[in-house]
């Protein structure tokens, strides 16, 4: 049995320790926000936070998450309030097919947690997730907008 906390809820799962976190989330715990795109840490569709750090859950064995905190897109809203990054994503109409977007949003939230005012270069370096629909221009705009909101609410 492996214990882990997902979006604030404790779970214990009876799976192989090497089973990737992504598949434990999706197929065992029915948490479908993180997506499967490549399975080899290339695309970032599976991005979740492990103790606040963005990780590519397709390439993290569940054993590495044992007794740790996992946050997925489903856990981002607080008391029904969307995260400012999610709000910026809506304001700027970022998603097209939407498949990459939970990963993009989790990567952006992690970036803004570390860097309150990322430059375009910082965004280029941190946001390595693939969007096949090419929503990049709007992702960039939305991250800058979310940074502004975060600054004004926290200042």
């Amino acid at each position: 049995m492996i214990e882990l906390t997902v979006n604030g809820r404790k779970h214990s799962v009876d799976v192989e320790p090497e089973m990737p976190l992504l598949w434990v989330l999706r197929d065992v715990l029915d948490v479908k926000g993180p997506k499967f795109g490549c399975g080899i840490a290339q695309c970032g569709a599976c991005t979740v936070h492990l103790n606040g750090e963005p990780v590519r859950s397709c390439s993290v064995p569940v054993s590495a998450a044992a007794n740790q905190k996992v946050l997925t897109i489903e856990g981002l809203a607080q008391r029904g309030q969307l995260h400012p990054v999610q709000k910026a994503w809506i304001d700027h109409e970022v998603p097209q097919c939407g498949y990459c977007q939970s990963g993009q949003i989790m990567a952006a939230v992690a970036l803004l947690a570390k860097n309150r005012d990322p430059s375009d270069k910082d965004i280029d370096a941190a946001m390595t997730n693939i969007c096949r629909c090419g929503t990049y221009a709007r992702i960039r705009t939305a991250i800058h907008a979310a940074a502004k909101t975060l600054k004004s609410t926290k200042a």
Binding site: G33, K35, C38, I40, G98, Q101, T128, N129, I130, R138
Partner: protein, 719 residues
Amino acid sequence: MPILFRKSRRDFLKVSTAAGGGLALQFMIPARAIAAGAVAKGPELTAWLVVNPDNSVVIRVARSEMGQGSSTGLAMLVAEELECDWTKVRTEFVSTAEHVRRNRVWGSMATGGSRSIRDSQEYLRQAGAAAREMLVAAAAQRWKVPASECDAENGVITHTLSLRKLRFGQVALAASKLEPPKDVKLKDPKAWNLIGKPARRLDIPDKVRGKPLFGIDVQQPGMAYAAIAQCPVFRGKLATVAGERIKGMRGLIKVVQLEDAVAVVADNWWRADRMLKLLPIEWDVGPNGGASTESIREFVRFGLEDSSVPVARDDGNVEAAFAQAAKLIESEYYAPFLNHAPLEPMNCTALVKGDRVEVWAPTQNAEATHAAAAATAGVPLENVEVHLTHLGGGFGRRGFQDYTRQAVSIAKAVEGRPVKLLWSREEDMQHDYYRPMTLMRFKAALDSSGKLTAWRVRDASHSIMAGVRPQEIKEGIDRHALGGIVDMPYEVPNLRIEFAMRNSHVPVGFMRTVFHSQNPFMRECFVDEMASAAGKDPYEFRRALLQGRPKDLGVLDAAARVSGWGSPLPAGVHRGIAVQDSHGSYAGAVFEVSVSAAGELDIRRVVVAVDPGYVVNPDSAEAQVQSCVAYGLTSVLWGEITLREGRVEQSNFHDYRLMRIAEMPKRIEAVLVPSGGFWGGMGETPLAPLAPALANAIFAATGKRIRSLPLKNQGLRLA
């Protein structure tokens, strides 16, 4: 113009007629369309919409949403005429079982060729107008006044003389009992309130919440999971599989053998995939086990040399014009196979129970999926229901039903249990219907004033139609493969177009913009070669040839104007231009680039002008231009599927590179110039002029012609 996936639809119709009209059948699960958050409780007013008592409106969408935003655009068309409150509109996908039961009431469900809006705009607007008239009539009856004294606006009907008001929801039930009007008058485009103004996409809130909208997210009680390995050489077969190797392993449910594939069914996908990788499988690869990119290219290239190929167009007399030319130019162009690579890998969930089948699929054609499921299970159409999910990208790949047939076959083997088949990225990369490999040779003649007098095209290409609709090929000529060539906008007095169909064992299919993703590259680069040889400006050279084509000229001029064509640029920065119409719309593009001596390419500005006639949602239209830039540049810069020993060499995103945010040009300008009077596509046309405009800019910067893609093989990389 290509009409995608018609073959499947015809199959559907065939089976549909054979099954007759007795449709009063019980369904396993009540017919119900899946739609995030949509609740169609109230009465139906035409097949297209439901007005709930709370005044909210559910508009039915028969086409697939794969990111292009058409589910919102289609709803806007209905709502424009309905005069409902747009903030209370939701959508739901229609049920294919209902579609069969109701005699195809929702028309085509195919989503391809940028046809969703342009093919259905008229009947959708008519449905909205009919529903509005029914609501108004019901209110007028209640007030006992003539309907002509009543107006509908924003979900409220007003009796204009007494100013009495009723909300749509209050009269919807009564309205639903009225006969829909036979003839309805549609609004003048000048009176549109919704169409042409930016509207919020209805699917976005769920998408930023990570809601389980996609095929891969389907969850059913007792569901099993399947992973699949297909014969690595196309057209090969399964020989043997040693199933005992994984016997007794944790989670194993079944090993299923298909004609050309093996599937492992387990209690989660990771276990299924892991066991599959342990299975010793022998393939009978057939005669194609020795094929390579080089051998296929030689095979296709023979079409350029062949002395007897059919002629698709022969205006004037090219040979005579060549004999009198002041200047002759000749070039050969090449475009490789490409993979679609939607980010969501192929998947399908199926349940076979007795003679009934239920399918959940991210598909670009739910009707074709329905027909494929019925045929695979060997049951009548009436026994099938397909739930259309959102698509994690489609780009043409999901018009093919291979993964549906597999899922139903596997579900048959574990009857009574729903099973979700999911391909690994490696399977997806190596089992696509690829963009066809194409070669072209051009010869052109200029007179002493630099005017184009003759042009001969020899096109040697794979044909998509040969596999999909062979009846379209007439006397060896596939006009679909000649898109942008046989119907080129330029006026050329002597024009000869020859076509050599060269189909290898590699399956080919429709990929975003289809042949307009490679043919305009070749044609428009060669036009640049002509302009250079004539000593003329490439923009002016095109203008002269487009005098009879105001729409093409319009987008060319718009792109030139916005980009400041001809105005001075910083040292080292150069422009390239191209134009192309496709999918009912027109697009022109200008690139500004610089290229270092080491081959580092800096794309400084991209201007794309598009005329789709009418723009429904300008915000989505702009997003489609950006999307085309990312998709198109990915192909031009890196895109290439290669083969060795009959199989695809690329396997995942490490060796089939897709654009990331750092590589996306920072300055992209979408210039929408809708000229009105027609409805064109928006999801593909902007892509067509990109490759040639970029290649022409590279020529301007380096003096080196790009005649073969991708650019990474031409010593160029992004700065």
